[in-house]
Subunit: 580 residues, 2 copies
């Protein structure tokens, strides 16, 4: 491709409205342009990378036995009403009416459509298992779309859905998808990890997320330093401390702390380590029957206690049988009804609600907690002596240095960007939609399902978050918009340079390489900067002086290393250097 | 692909709700399933064909110098308001609001989005010409979606848009697209014609449609028998007859025709050929100013007169300067106000409105027309004597046998399905959206545009309309879901058959062929019928008796011819027979 006939659209300046580096670089490199909030047009270089990611995903899905289908983006409301998601999903599900005033949605996902298809098409156990996927445009009306294509409203996704008679069969396909995802992200050239994940609102039990590791990632992931254990921090179990609780040695006292506004100030004021303070959060209790679950002041509360230097883990907390899901904080009014005043300085001593204590907080002795009174702490607090009715659970986020729950090594925390997620759904959708087949015994049996997603367009942003420097993007070879940048210096003033460039361009493209031939009338510095910004992995620079020796300069974008190549050897050299 | 692990979903019976053969066969062959009105899920075989069509289109667009982009399906209303289409388009443009109550549309086409992009990104004549395309999902909320994917609401389209400084440059790209389309439809293996077309409401002047010829086509196309002239019947000029009008010989008389209900009955009753009767249609006249164009009874009418055996051509009529566009028939009330009664038996004699006569009707003498009175005809009517104020124009459809307007040969009429359309748009959108660049003189100049569409999903239906028989689809090799059907007879009872089949399957797939290996436990008749229905072009049947001679039976789906092949020669034979 000749850049003079292409739409490069690079920008020198950082765009003002982009917050993260991938968004900035995708705008600057001319990969995307914003049409409206969360809506992006992919420019030529953006589409090239998008199609490459798509192709790798498709090839690996086919290899893994998944079969491609294509479902509509516009879906009729009836199916969503059947599963209850029409009512339960928030405004992220974009609902609209067609010209005949019938209700539709713009598909954010396709569980309903595929389950409807399968219940019509598949009638016998002989047709199972079946794993169907599509690569298709999705729409989620995010309240606050941001970070460019990382969290766009319209985006490209690979979604697969598998159908089974047995858990064993589901596990087999799940494992095959796990392996396919591993191959996909390996081929994409990304540093990634599969982590144990929460299946959240989509339903089901077992689930793994695939994260591209990047310091800018939104998610925290806990790794074992000495095994391949990895889990989303929401899911990483914090083991109970092996140490025993020391005996109580101090007596219970109330202390005024009028000037302490931060945890550190409070600890200093009490002459304690922050790890010897606990924080207490009041939340709604779980109700067995729905009619009790009104959110008036009579709602029952639960106290959650963690060490002040730890963080409460919402996912773990709301999975506790005593706690309402989703986790709901007590209102000021509810706290006032309980304590007589709407204080934020809460503690478990004397509290007339059930108390759940994190294991790490439960091994403290002579610790400090809120006195249920503004600007007052209790010190010398001890479990069993001062608080007799409580239970222990794991309700905190793990921290770096915790023992790994796999039993081997300690945990390390890294940041990741979620680009894939696989779920064992069970029968949540098949049950609601009565999707069953005749089993070997001739009886109707509800199907067991799995679902498997990859954020195709999101991968591009994640790849850039992981692969960039101050000059721009550094593409892995397999998803670079072009493999080679051919940069002739001052070609328009030198017939010799032009001839050498044209010949090399013809030879490289004939050998099957994807070359961007920078034939613009630009200064060399502009061309170098654009090709670095674009992240083209291999640069070949043609200059007068080197041409005297029948040589060109080769530059590797990632390492920055430069070397001279004989012009006759360029094609052969590229064949060994360009990864496909 | 082993059919036992695939989702074939074939059906024996013709589905009740399908009207056209392609829709019936796509349902029966398990290519698509209806989700809701005009919304279809593509099943595995449907997706395979869709992706093949898509690939051929993409390859040829790239070769022709078009550059791929991808624009959002969801578009903000502001752009559509700028060009006025937000107000002027009917309910086919699906409008909706997002969660913040902002207006959006589901893109039926992308002139606005691309023109907005170009006016931002392209600032200098040096960046032109530019031809950008995408292959993307469109939505048109058709009032009555029908014929399966032929006229669906959600569909896959290739749309390209080119931008130029001069008409010459536009013509060059237009010609390149014409050639690319010709290559595309040739590679797709379809019998097609490029025809001169009306550019309709999208704007612009020059335009060609590409039609797949099929007797079931919705459109009529006129061809010259001895040149390559071809035009949509809307656009084919009917030359004035070379014969002169005979002299008047009969006197004007009014005749009662109480029992004549059809044209033939009327002609018989009057002892005339149908070609000696004329029919007269009253339509609204064109108004210069908008405020006169109210559709009340005071609207001015025009009489259009064509031979009774000819058809009025609406496109030609509404292009006449006296006639309102779009063509609007007079209401009963308007006819009553003109004639005193709301009769349908209208004729030009004594009519107090302007009369436009088709050339063929204007050479009649002693003809018959309506008497402007129910069940009464005038006979012995003659122009100039009985109707003195009229003008002639070409306002009829051509018919088979008419002289070709190219000057060579006569016209023949065939049916076609429109699968592509190229337009020279001019500055309709660039003017409305102020899309200009600095030209060589340093002045701002509004761009000239072309646009070029291909109905990717529609091609599948059109290919089937053209290529089928009583047993099912007959795919051209290049877009068949599989190239080869491997059909072992009673494999589950014979180890020898199974071994031969497995070996051939491995050899054929290793050679790069796309094979559907029918390994189901089905009777041979069921397998043959399914593979014929699916339209797989090349069938290889493995049976016990032939295997004794180390042979298999080869069947060519289209010709139906069968022959024996040495099993060792199958791969080599397929290499010459399968077209890629």
């Amino acid at each position: 491709m000749r850049s003079s006939q292409y739409l490069l659209s690079t920008m020198k300046e950082n765009p003002a409205d982009a917050e993260v580096i991938s968004h900035k670089l995708m705008l600057r490199a001319g990969m995307v342009r914003r049409l409206a909030s969360g809506l992006y047009t992919y420019l030529p270089t953006g589409v090239r990378t998008l199609r490459k990611v798509e192709r790798i995903v498709r090839e690996e899905m086919n290899k893994a036995g998944a079969i491609e289908v294509l479902m509509p983006m516009v879906q009729n409301a009836e199916l969503w009403q059947e599963t209850g998601r029409w009512e339960h999903m928030d405004a992220e599900l974009l609902r609209f009416k067609d010209r005949h005033q019938r209700d539709f949605v713009l598909g954010p996902t396709h569980e309903e459509v595929i389950t409807d298809l399968i219940r019509r098409e598949v009638t016998s156990y002989k047709q199972l298992p079946l794993n169907l996927y599509q690569i298709q445009t999705k729409f989620r009306d995010e309240r606050r779309p941001r970070f460019g294509v990382m969290r766009a409203r319209e985006f490209l996704m690979k979604d697969a859905y598998s159908f089974h008679l047995t858990q064993d069969s589901l596990q087999q396909t799940y494992d095959a998808m796990y392996q396919a995802y591993t191959r996909i992200f390996t081929r994409l050239g990304l540093d990634f990890r599969a982590v144990i994940a929460d299946s959240g609102s989509i339903g089901g039990s077992v689930s793994h997320e695939f994260h591209v590791l990047a310091s800018s990632g939104e998610d925290a992931i806990a790794f074992s330093t000495s095994s391949d254990y990895a889990a989303n921090i929401e899911m990483a179990a914090a083991l109970p401390p092996s140490s025993k609780r020391p005996a109580a040695s101090a007596s219970l006292q109330k202390v005024a702390t009028p000037d302490a506004n931060t945890l550190e100030e409070l600890a200093a004021c009490l002459s304690l380590e922050t790890s010897h303070l606990v924080k207490t959060v009041l939340v709604h209790a779980h109700h067995d029957t729905e009619d009790n679950a009104t959110k008036d002041n009579s709602v029952q509360l639960i106290a959650l206690v963690v060490r002040a230097d730890h963080q409460l883990n919402h996912v773990k907390a709301e999975k506790h049988p005593l706690v309402a899901s989703p986790l709901t904080l007590a209102t000021d009014e509810q706290i006032k009804a309980l304590l007589g005043s709407a204080t934020a300085t809460i503690g478990p001593v004397g509290l007339k609600v059930p108390v759940i204590v994190d294991h790490s907080a439960a091994v403290l002795a002579d610790f400090s907690c809120g006195a249920n009174e503004d600007s007052h702490q209790l010190v010398g607090v001890n479990w069993d002596r001062d608080i007799t009715d409580y239970q222990q659970a794991d309700i905190r986020n793990v921290v770096s240095g915790d023992a790994s729950p796999c039993g081997s090594g300690t945990l390390e925390i890294k940041r990741g960007i979620e680009v894939g997620h696989i779920f064992q759904l069970g029968d949540k959708y098949s049950q609601a939609m009565k999707a069953g087949v005749l089993n070997e015994a001739g009886k109707n049996q509800i199907l067991t399902m799995g679902c498997y997603g990859i954020g195709v367009s999101r991968i591009i942003a994640a790849a850039i978050e992981q692969n960039h420097d101050e000059y721009g993007i550094i593409w892995p070879d397999t998803i670079a918009p072009f493999q080679i940048a051919l940069i002739p210096m001052n070609m328009h003033k030198s017939t010799r340079i032009q001839q050498a460039a044209e010949q090399l361009y013809n030879e490289l493209t004939a050998a099957g390489f994807e070359v961007i031939f920078d034939d613009r009338k630009e200064r060399p510095g502009v061309m170098f900067a654009d090709m670095e910004l674009l992240g083209i992995p291999h640069h070949i620079v043609i200059g007068e002086r080197n041409l005297d020796q029948q040589q060109v300069e080769y530059k590797h974008r990632r390492s920055g290393s430069k070397e001279m190549l004989d012009i006759a050897q360029v094609v052969a050299e590229m064949t060994t250097r360009v990864q496909i």
